[in-house]
């Protein structure tokens, strides 16, 4: 329900969403009014969130599975620095969404629809919808598999995931939702102690970062892992989520610096967890264990002889966390995008009564994905295999929309991208497109792929 208030001559409608957001902004203004280190620390505490959440949220079930497969298939080598570089790409891309959200106070889907029209808007929504839905299924696969390690039945695993999802939602406050989800997301770092338990050879780790060696062979397997690892860090839902969350949090152009720090901090934490996962599963490569069809819990089982039951349990819990946090952020991203396009209220500050469609879409996405995972006999492994690849393939069109919006002087004013940022983002688009084309060639024209040096 809305009410009206009069400010000067114009009639202004204030909603509860506005009131909640204003509360958050007052705290930011108070912190900004002070000086010194404690003021900056307080501002970072208040303004950090979307960046850390999007980066740790993208360390999801299929992503951690990709990193685990990378360690088991290739050991410690080229992929350690490569994964860190992919997070560098993610920073370049996500920083643009912070600027867009802070400058326009509009979500990503909303801007595409309004600036480019419904024809292109629907294309990007279909890309997002398909990608999000497939990814959401894989999150529940990770949750089911991770809890399966502890003997929890599939239905109970799904129920636990819903309890956590709703515990975060029921506050009906963006701030509370963000803090609960952030606390859950930090458990992603559980992969670091698991890596330490494997007693890694630090000389090899240092050598890999310094030289990018040993290099993997150039073949279809390497290409698939390469694509999966890229897809584990840059995906379309991240663009939509971080921009919408930046808007929902009420960030303004004054907050962009902290939005950037938040994004870099998130990338640093997420890349540490990703590198740790590769290091954790590297012993499987060193012990020459086969990893052909490993799923989340099977990695934990395979690691048990090396790191013991406690270490394997931590690994399985890490997979559960990855799935739950991503299920929360991805379903929220879908709900934001739907609300923006349908011009329905879309905010985590909304009471259920005012945000029925927002919460309904969020719930529906999670329920359908979870229900699919519970259908016995479905070839879920194929979904897991392709989901990151699909994310990489869908990124170039999404990035071009982002590039056009962030260089649109009419909506961005002085905050349009500087030339160096455009060169970097152009490089990301070309890299992703080239990786996708190479993948396509390896599938439909293996002879040409072999001529290029692949096997």
């Amino acid at each position: 329900m809305k009410f009206t208030a009069t400010q000067t001559e114009a009639e202004v409608v204030i909603t509860h969403e506005d009131v909640d957001r204003a509360h958050d902004r007052v705290r930011v203004s108070d912190a900004r009014a002070r000086r010194g280190f404690s003021s900056n620390a307080r501002l970072l505490w208040l303004l950090a969130g979307p960046g850390v959440l999007v980066m740790l949220g993208e360390n999801d079930g299929p992503s951690m599975l990709s990193y685990a497969a990378t360690g088991a298939r290739f050991g410690i080598g080229f992929f350690l620095p490569f994964v860190v570089v992919t997070f560098g790409m993610a920073i370049v891309v996500q920083e643009m969404t912070v600027r867009l959200g802070a400058a326009t106070h509009r979500g990503h889907a909303e801007l595409i629809f309004e600036r480019f029209g419904p024809f292109w808007g629907w294309f990007s929504m279909i890309d997002l919808g398909i990608g999000n839905f497939l990814t959401l299924i894989t999150e529940f696969i990770a949750i089911r598999a991770g809890l399966g390690f502890f003997g929890v039945p599939a239905w109970a695993a799904v129920l636990i995931a819903f309890v956590v999802l709703y515990a975060a939602l029921m506050s009906h406050r963006y701030w509370t939702w963000e803090r609960i989800t952030l606390a859950a997301a930090l458990f992603n770092l559980i992969f670091i102690p698991v890596a330490l338990m494997t007693h890694p050879n630090w000389h090899s780790v240092g050598h890999a970062f310094a030289t990018w060696k040993p290099l993997p062979g150039f073949n279809k397997d390497t290409l698939l892992i390469l694509l999966a690892d890229i897809g584990a860090t840059v995906t379309p839902w991240m663009l939509f989520f971080q921009q919408s969350a930046t808007v929902d949090k009420g960030m303004t152009t004054k907050d962009i610096r902290f939005g950037r720090i938040d994004t870099v901090l998130g990338a640093a934490l997420a890349s540490a967890a990703a590198v740790a996962t590769i290091i954790a599963t590297a012993p499987l490569f060193a012990h020459q264990m086969t990893t052909g069809n490993y799923e989340a819990a099977e990695f934990a089982q395979a690691l048990e002889p090396i790191i013991g039951h406690f270490g394997a349990s931590l690994f399985a819990l890490g997979m559960v966390e990855a799935g739950i946090v991503a299920a929360i952020t991805i379903s929220t991203s879908s709900a934001y995008a739907f609300g923006e396009v349908a011009r329905k209220p879309h905010s985590l500050n909304l009471p259920v009564g005012e945000g029925k469609s927002f919460y309904a879409v969020l719930t529906l996405c999670a329920v359908v994905a979870a229900a699919i995972v519970l259908i016995p006999g479905l070839p879920l492994v194929y979904v897991v295999l392709i989901v990151n690849v699909v994310a990489v393939l869908a990124m170039p069109p999404a990035l071009v929309f982002l590039y056009m919006l962030v260089n649109d002087k009419e909506i961005m004013g002085d905050l349009v991208s500087p030339p160096w940022a455009n060169i970097l983002s152009g490089g990301v688009v070309l890299t992703l497109t080239a990786a996708g084309i190479l993948f396509g060639i390896s599938i439909i024209a293996p002879n040409i792929f072999a001529a290029l040096g692949g096997k």
Binding site: V12, V19, A22, E114, R115, W120, L385, P397, E410
Partner: protein, 70 residues
């Protein structure tokens, strides 16, 4: 519907909200669409090229899944 939904804040609070938020942060302001931008030829070419690229690559992924499933 909760009590929070039906009781408007007092006028002093309304002023406080308006002074805390930027004008285009208000929910009401977001109801006004941003004007449409006219896409130029090269932009349309890039968008269409990437759209066809994506459709083609999705078919490739479908083919790969089909091969793997066999």
């Amino acid at each position: 519907m909760t009590k929070k939904n039906i009781i408007p804040p007092p006028p002093s609070d309304q002023t406080w909200v308006l002074s805390s938020l930027e004008p285009d942060q208000l929910v009401k302001a977001k109801k006004h669409p941003i004007p449409r931008r006219h896409l130029k030829g090269p932009e349309l070419l890039i968008l269409w090229t990437l759209r066809l690229y994506l459709l083609f690559m999705m078919a490739v992924v479908g083919y790969q899944v089909w091969i793997a499933a066999r």
